[in-house]
């Protein structure tokens, strides 16, 4: 009898670890030319559209003629991008108000009583019924000099929002509610102690409540302190339809102060009245900021605002923001979604899925490996796309001489990295949907309807904001909130609509909505992949 030795392969058993699986999926991804081209296309399209938008910005000094054509650029010294005053936080601000001031050396305090705040709306004569806009402001302020955009803290009465304490343009905290009148006056007090400024309010001048205390870093020893009045533009918004019909008309407010008392060292002998404003802003016809003082009673009239500028074509700030450069993101997202969908559906079409699952019977792990590979590739592509769009477009727009909403660097980083994260998670979402439906057409359809269409409907003005805001809350497109260039301020009335770059959800909340949908789709995909025959 001869014994037959059975054949034994001398090859070592390969480990079937997750690393092995990742490597296998990565090999599949990088060796299909079309998918890699899709990723490169995403970068090129997003970057290219960004450059196009940057290139087409209007030089700030060009003349818009009545026919709507942008006129020739006036060359010369006058032609440079207007520098918006920047607040202490780096945001562009409006710093325009009537200031009745005296220098205050060292620590001290100022107390006043406000007995009236009235206003004039556009088109109304001096004799017409007084009316104030809700954010007309009159009160006392301690400010780091009269330079535009310098730091401050103020406590004030408003037209419709009670007593507020505000500081450094973006800070805002409420005090006593209700409007001011001779029968219901408001007492206000600001004290300075080193860098800390504390605001108090009172209804009777004896019982005081602390409204807030803020630390203004780098406040000089001598500051300007006194009374101020300002009144923002009354906006006749038709924000439901973003197109046209927005009238930002200036308004004027007048306030009466008395019982002005001060402690500390006030070296000047008399009050100085100043209308602080940006050098580029034009005078407002028919309005006369100023003050007069009769026996301790100050009547101050002012117009403007002390607040952050709000970006967007319908608002008073710069029309173009970094977010506009990234409008091409949706096209890049389509390219990435096509690659992500085919990364799964091609397995079914070619029958490769049977080989894949024979090699790695843990189906959940196959899905996880694919998600990691496509997510990482999409993140890298998205990062390159967003960085290219923002950096190139900013450069091109600067060369055009146009002004862009200046962005503090953490916001810019959040926008660029957020765009990459948005594209990466959207790719994983597409992969999960493709696993569920197993057809490219159906997967792409779902992604287009849930992510691209809500975004496309919200980007140009014209669709009622109520609808687009709802879509940007519930659909995965909510993640576009990551591109929001500036926060919405409760204390500034403006057109906070999606087409101007204001999303109904906070940036990371919007991203969480996309992540939630993606998690749901992944769970469903994992379940079906395990339960169904491949």
């Amino acid at each position: 009898m001869t014994t037959i030795t059975p054949y034994r392969s001398t090859a070592r058993n390969a480990r079937d670890g997750f690393g092995q699986l990742l490597h296998a999926e990565w090999t599949k991804f990088r060796t299909v030319r079309g998918w890699v081209i899709g990723m490169i296309l995403a970068v090129l399209v997003t970057g290219g559209l960004g450059v196009l938008i940057g290139k087409s910005t209007v030089p700030s000094c060009s003349v818009q003629t009545s026919s709507g054509q942008s006129g020739p650029v006036q060359h010369g010294a006058a032609c440079s991008a207007p520098a918006y005053p920047l607040g202490p936080g780096g945001e562009p601000v409006r710093d325009q108000f009537y200031f009745v001031r005296q220098p205050l050396a060292g620590n001290g305090s100022i107390t006043v009583r406000v007995t009236s705040l009235t206003g004039r709306l556009p088109g109304q004569g001096a004799g017409s019924a007084p009316a104030v806009v809700p954010w007309s402001k009159a009160g006392i302020i301690i400010k780091d000099g009269t330079r535009q955009g310098s730091g401050y803290a103020a406590v004030m009465v408003t037209g419709g929002n009670g007593v507020r304490m505000q500081w450094n343009y973006t800070g805002d905290t409420p005090g006593l509610p209700g409007t001011v009148s001779a029968a219901r006056p408001r007492w206000l007090r600001l004290t300075r102690d080193g860098d800390t400024i504390t605001g108090y309010d009172s209804a009777d001048g004896t019982h005081w409540t602390r409204v807030g205390a803020v630390a203004l870093a780098g406040l000089p020893s001598t500051v300007q302190a006194g009374l101020f009045v300002t009144s923002p533009d009354s906006a006749a918004y038709s924000s439901s339809l973003g197109s046209g019909s927005v009238n930002n008309d200036p308004t004027e407010a007048t306030a009466v102060f008395d019982h002005v008392s001060r402690t500390g060292r006030w070296p000047a002998s008399a009050w100085t009245g100043d209308y602080l404003q940006d050098s580029t802003s034009m005078g407002i016809s028919g309005y006369t900021p100023g003050y007069h003082q009769v026996a301790g009673r100050f009547t101050v009239t002012g117009s403007g605002d002390i607040a952050p500028l709000i970006a967007g074509a319908l608002n008073d700030g710069p029309a173009i923001t970094v977010r506009d450069y990234l409008l091409g993101t949706f096209a890049g997202l389509i390219a990435v979604a096509v690659a992500a969908a085919m990364f799964m559906t091609a397995e079914y079409r070619r029958g490769l899925i049977r080989t894949t699952l024979a090699a790695s019977p843990h189906r959940g792990r196959v899905l996880a490996a694919k998600a990691v590979v496509i997510g990482s590739a999409a993140f890298v592509a998205g990062l390159a796309a967003a960085a290219a769009a923002v950096l190139l477009a900013t450069e091109v727009a600067r060369g055009n001489g146009s002004s862009v909403f200046p962005e503090p660097w953490p916001t810019e980083v959040r926008i660029i990295a957020g765009t990459a994260a948005l594209i990466a998670v959207a790719a994983v979402f597409t992969l999960a949907i493709a696993t569920v439906v197993r057809r490219s057409a159906a997967a792409i359809l779902i992604v287009i309807v849930t992510i691209v269409i809500p975004f496309v409907l919200s980007a140009p003005p014209g669709i009622p904001a109520g609808l687009t805001e709802w879509l940007l809350r519930v659909t995965p497109a909510a993640a576009f909130a990551l591109q929001q260039p500036a926060p919405q301020y409760y204390q500034v009335q403006a057109n906070y609509i999606p087409s101007s770059g204001f999303f109904p959800l906070a940036p990371w909340t919007g991203f969480a909505v996309l992540c939630g949908w993606t998690a749901l789709a992944l769970v469903l995909a994992g379940y079906l992949l395990r339960r169904r025959d491949a």
Binding site: G38, Q69, S402, S440, L457, A459, I463
Partner: protein, 282 residues
């Protein structure tokens, strides 16, 4: 000898039958795929649904309505076209993904006749579904908009029109018929692109990217000279001028010229698709 003669006499009728049979074959293929019906219904439903939602979110403040009620109540076309694109792309790309194209071309060697038959049928189906959807949109507008300020007090309907969104009012009729034609042309554009690239997902991505890029990008462009030019050449932006019924003077093109731009895009895509289809191995 009878045989050659019989062969010769058969040429005439056979050629006449040829076109009809190609159409019939394509119709059988389209009709028997479950997705065609679902997608057509989906396109109509999405168009109507989005339009109704836009109507319900519209407002006409006392200061006067800016918007154009016909354009407003046909907004859903912007969403519904995505499904129309998919219907048209699938008609071609499905043949490639299943290998059916080789049988089709063996049976019908005249490739352009196959493409023409597909184009005719897809356009016909899309036009029929869009007509239903557009009528439903107008009906929704008529029912919903008066409750949102589009009333006689605000000047709606205009004096020349017998009722709000009435088909007997010239501009409204143009907007309605034009929207149907718009969707038909979108189907032709998609068919051309799909014939050229053959891959479902790629074709859908290309067409939708091309369509949506123009309105999104022009919304951010502050240079009005560029903005007008981009709107004029964009297939979606120019094509949708057909929906305008107010402020026609402010449009960069007349409504029919706008639809003509889209027709040029569709013709270009079909020409390229046809050439590639003819010259390339299937």
């Amino acid at each position: 000898m009878n045989v050659p003669a019989a062969g010769l006499t058969a040429v005439g009728p056979a050629r006449a039958r040829y076109g009809r049979e190609t159409l019939h074959a394509e119709w059988t293929k389209l009709r028997t795929v479950a997705s065609t019906g679902w997608l057509l219904a989906g396109a109509a439903a999405l168009t109507t649904g989005v339009s109704a939602a836009v109507d319900a979110a519209a407002a006409c403040p006392a200061s006067g309505c800016q918007p154009d009620p016909a354009k407003l109540s046909l907004t859903g076309v912007q969403a519904g076209q995505a499904i129309v694109v998919i219907i048209a792309v699938l008609a071609v790309s499905n043949e490639y993904s299943t290998g059916m194209i080789r049988i089709t071309l063996a049976a019908m060697p005249r490739r352009l006749a196959v493409l023409a038959a597909k184009a005719t049928l897809i356009t016909g189906l899309v036009v029929a579904a869009s007509a239903v959807a557009v009528l439903a949109c107008l009906l929704a507008g008529r029912l919903i908009l008066p409750g949102h300020g589009f009333t006689a007090a605000h000047g709606y309907p205009p004096p020349t029109s017998p009722a709000l969104l009435s088909l007997s009012h010239g501009p409204d009729l143009r907007a309605a018929c034009g929207s149907v034609l718009y969707l038909g042309l979108i189907a032709l554009l998609s068919l051309g692109v799909a014939t050229a690239v053959r891959e479902t997902a790629v074709a859908i991505g290309l067409v939708l990217g091309l369509l949506y890029a123009f309105p999104v990008v022009t919304s951010a462009i502050s240079n009005q000279h560029w903005q007008r030019h981009l709107e004029q050449i964009g297939p979606m932006t120019a094509g949708l001028y057909i929906q305008a019924t107010a402020n026609l003077r402010s449009l960069p093109l007349t409504p029919w010229q706008g639809l003509g731009v889209l027709a040029l895009w569709a013709a270009g895509a079909l020409t390229i698709g046809g050439l590639v289809f003819r010259c390339r191995d299937a």
